[in-house]
Amino acid sequence: MSPELILFLVLSLVAIAAAIGMLISPNPVYSALFLVINFSTVAVFYLILGAPFIAMAQITIYAGAIMVLFLFVIMLLGAEKLAPGKVLPYQKPLAIGLAIVLMVESVYAVLARNPSDAEIIVPTEAANSIDAMRDLGIMLFSDYLLPFEVTSILLLVAMIGAIVLTKRAKGEQE
């Protein structure tokens, strides 16, 4: 077994354990911390795949920004002291059904791979060169220009939504 494979297997276990920990932990703040661990292991997966930019962006945006927001929301609601609320009656069957769909889909995605591109490309030193970063930038700003610009509209909508939800009209009591 190559060192990369061992690393991958160990980290997969960590990622799965962190995901389970997030689900079963009684305190939402601990859940959030487990999710941070999970996001960080995913970042290392990207590194193993030779995508340092995605890995760092994953840590910056998911483990950094989004989880800080989650923590703020947990503290905003005082959720760490809330008693478990009512569970929707159809929640469990629905969750199991969706999980099965996801599993079938991912198994299909793995099996249906075209054999010609089934070979796993092992990242080399080249992934750490600045030219690799340049290629990524050129791709993003030429071939994927439209998704990039559309992202900004998505961000705009999110921003306005958050403001509308939290800001009261002038004169209204706090």
């Binding site: 760092m56 910056t60 989880m67 800080v68 923590l71 703020f72 970063m133």
Partner: protein, 368 residues
């Protein structure tokens, strides 16, 4: 992978950790002596010559202090928070190049822990991770002051992180690379980026002050209103870790500023003797730290609402404008190299405009 490689990795990591540790110890001494000078006092001068043994005395004192954990604290997070604050303050220094590579026996040793192509993004990601230690310290203490201090600190850090990121973008634009070594090499022959983009350097400096919670942005520790902010409940060595993290961050952000805008390890004869690199870095860091302490001795603390307004309403648009001015200037410089000097001119105009707006807004509030 052979064992010499592992040895190199471990030695480099230990050198960095202990250099930062020693730097932290003597930075406290340096700060206290300097503050004393600013206030016409002598400062610590009893332990050893010039008080040089004072940091050791302080460390011994802290080791023998009792560590308290509040009865209602969330114990595990309370224990982890200081570690989660200290570790990012060390690893953020991993990508900083301390000097050009040199030959040792038959191998080439680079003077940085990791020379990665996403170096600047690495700085950003670690800076965003560093928020957790502080906000969790505040939350896990189960203390009102600590909670408020932690939240304020987190909100402040994330607000100024945007400006920090945009200031990094300015350096990337000028250096045409995300690798910190490339950025330093682009500043050869005295072409320090601070000359081309003085406002960018100033913005980065202000953002780092806020990021490490230094004066005049030391709101989380506003003693008069929050006792001690997020580390109110911490004592003994756990408190020492927060203290250590803060001072190590001061050193590291000075190193980042020196690397991105003040030529990093570059200086006379650094190519002939690569080990001069760390010496130049040391000198630049000491000067930048002096300015940081000078600011502490001179300026009063900023009120929290103004601090947030300054970050969101002044620094963020100014940083965006500076990025755009730099980009346009670089494109114009491809037509005529002299056009590069339009960048400092227009950036200074933008900076002057921003200060004018602050002045006007403050005047309006004063008479309102």
């Amino acid at each position: 992978m052979d064992w010499t490689l592992w040895l190199e990795l471990v030695i480099k990591a230990l050198v960095l950790i202990f250099a930062l540790l020693g730097g932290f110890a003597y930075l406290t001494w340096y700060e206290r002596r300097l503050l004393a000078r600013f206030q016409s006092r002598l400062g610590p001068n009893r332990a050893g010559p010039f008080g040089l043994l004072q940091p050791i005395a302080d460390a011994v004192k802290l080791i023998f202090k009792e560590e308290l954990t509040p009865a209602k604290a969330y114990k595990l997070v309370f224990f982890l928070a200081p570690i989660m604050t200290l570790v990012p303050s060390v690893i953020i220094a991993a990508v900083i190049p301390w000097g050009p590579p040199f030959q040792l026996g038959d191998r080439i040793v680079t003077q940085s822990i990791a020379d990665i192509n996403v170096g600047v993004l690495f700085l950003m990601s670690i800076a965003s991770i560093a928020v957790y230690g502080i906000v969790l310290a505040g939350w896990s203490s189960n203390n009102k002051y600590a909670m408020l201090g932690g939240l304020r600190s987190a909100a402040q850090m994330i607000s100024y992180e945007l400006t920090l990121g945009l200031a990094f973008v300015v350096a990337i634009l000028l250096g045409n690379s995300m690798n910190l070594t490339d950025i330093v090499e682009a500043q050869r022959d005295g072409r320090w980026f601070v000359l081309v983009q003085p406002v960018g350097a100033l913005i980065l400096w202000i953002a780092t002050l806020a990021e490490v919670n230094r004066h005049p942005f030391d709101m989380p520790e506003a003693e008069q209103e929050l006792t001690a902010g997020y580390h109110t409940e911490y004592s003994g060595m756990k408190f020492a870790l927060f203290f250590m993290a803060e001072y190590q961050k001061m050193i590291v952000v000075s190193a980042i500023l020196a690397t991105l805008f003040f030529g990093g390890y570059l200086g006379p004869w650094v190519d002939r003797w690569p080990l001069l690199g760390p010496v130049y870095m040391f000198l630049k860091i000491v000067i930048l730290l002096f300015i940081m302490i000078w600011v502490r001795a001179t300026w009063p603390r900023i009120r929290y609402d103004r601090l947030m307004a300054f970050g969101w309403k002044v620094l963020l648009p100014l940083a965006l404008a500076v990025v755009m001015i730099t980009a346009v200037g670089i494109l114009l410089a491809e037509i005529n190299p002299w056009m590069i000097w339009l960048i400092p001119i227009f950036s200074l105009i933008a900076g002057a405009f921003a200060s004018l707006m602050i002045d006007r807004s403050l005047r309006r509030k004063a008479y309102a």
